[in-house]
């Protein structure tokens, strides 16, 4: 039976984020190109390219997601966020054509997560972004399922490297299902094995005792 003493909080799916999830915290560090709509007085030191004391209106900077989300307001007085190029028209047609070819890990390892969070920013292209993200997911699903269910006891790093984090979590779930079934079939499901923590501890202790 798989019981863990530590169950990590999974990332939120879609537009919500789980506050305690490490994946979501890392996701919120992704930078978005944005433009300030009003001056930020006395914050000029943050903007290295200009020497003024304040950040002028209309400056283009890159903001992390958590900052952009916090500062964004519907009346659009503070910041306006531009879409990163992966979510723009050009890349959307690429994804439409063939989603399986793209290396999603390189495109921003949080393609699905960031795509869903972008929907918070009320861009006019929101429905297209949502559709593109969904269609990419569906297109790549088959390959993820096949590779996760058929790779037993092999090195999976080659299969996993083109997947984004959401797909990697799915891959892991599929692998664990496969592994527990294979374990059961070989009759190893009921054998008791020493916990890895105990083994490591014991190793260290023996080297301590030997002078």
């Amino acid at each position: 039976m798989e019981t863990q003493s530590y169950l990590p909080v999974p990332p939120g799916v879609g537009m919500e984020e789980n506050f305690l999830s490490l994946d979501d915290i890392l996701l919120s560090h992704e930078r978005l190109p944005s433009r300030t709509e009003c001056t930020f007085p006395r914050l000029g030191f943050l903007e290295k390219s200009s020497d003024s004391r304040d950040i002028q209106e209309g400056t283009k900077m890159e903001m992390p997601l958590f900052l952009a989300k916090g500062l964004y307001e519907r009346k659009r007085r503070v910041v306006s966020v531009e879409l990163p190029k992966v979510y723009k028209e050009g890349w959307r047609t690429v994804f439409n054509a063939d989603p399986t070819v793209v290396d999603l890990h390189k495109m921003g390892p949080y393609y699905y997560g960031l795509g869903s969070q972008l929907l918070h920013f009320d861009s006019p292209e929101n429905p297209e972004i949502a559709q593109a993200v969904l269609q990419t997911f569906i297109g790549r699903f088959r390959r993820t399922m096949d590779s996760s269910q058929n790779a037993y006891n092999e090195d999976t790093s080659a299969l996993v490297e083109r997947l984004d984090y959401l797909e990697r979590a799915l891959f892991k779930a599929g692998q664990s299902g496969l592994n527990s079934f294979q374990n059961w079939e070989r009759g190893r499901a009921s054998t008791i094995t020493a916990s890895s923590l105990v083994l490591n501890y014991r190793k260290r202790k023996i080297t301590d005792l030997q002078p």
Binding site: M15, S116, A130, I138, Q149, G174, G177, W184
Partner: protein, 156 residues
């Protein structure tokens, strides 16, 4: 769900035995886990269930659609009986291969239908004659995918 849990549920199935010892009553039907223990202590011989026959299984492999299974727990019973009592069962190796073939075909079909289910974004799918073990292997993956599929495109 764990495969061991599924196996536990499967062990309730009745299996015929011929005991070597005699008691006041002669029991000719045993429950799987009981027969496995008896067999280990060499107190009985196991009679294979009727579906565990090379001819019948070979016919089962050839069919194309999701037909009714030989037994709702065929996988677990095969594993248990073949590991404990392979000499009681004629042509044990062939049976093992055939059951594995049946399993592989069914799992492949299950994956195909899961794939078409997701790619057409259906909300509801019906698949008859699936056994618990097959369901169990794909359960967590499929549920997570469906969860993602449901939540990703939602716009406010």
């Amino acid at each position: 769900m764990d495969p061991s849990e599924v196996e536990f549920l499967a062990e309730k199935e009745a299996v015929k035995i011929i005991p070597n010892f005699s008691l006041d009553k002669i029991y000719l039907i045993g429950v799987s886990w009981l027969t496995a223990t008896c067999r280990q202590r060499q107190k009985c011989r196991i009679v294979p269930p009727e579906w565990m026959d090379v001819g019948k299984l070979r016919r089962q492999v050839g069919r194309k659609t999701f037909t009714p299974v030989p037994s709702p727990y065929y996988m677990e019973l095969t594993k248990l009986l073949l590991s404990h009592a392979s000499d009681n069962i004629p042509k044990a190796d062939e049976i093992r291969t055939l059951v594995k073939d049946i399993w592989d075909t069914r799992i492949a079909k299950l994956r195909l239908s899961a794939d078409s289910f997701i790619s057409q974004q259906e909300a509801h799918a019906k698949l008859d004659n699936l056994t618990l073990m097959e369901l169990n292997t794909t359960r967590s993956f499929l549920l997570d995918t469906l969860n993602c599929m449901y939540k990703l495109p939602q716009d406010h």
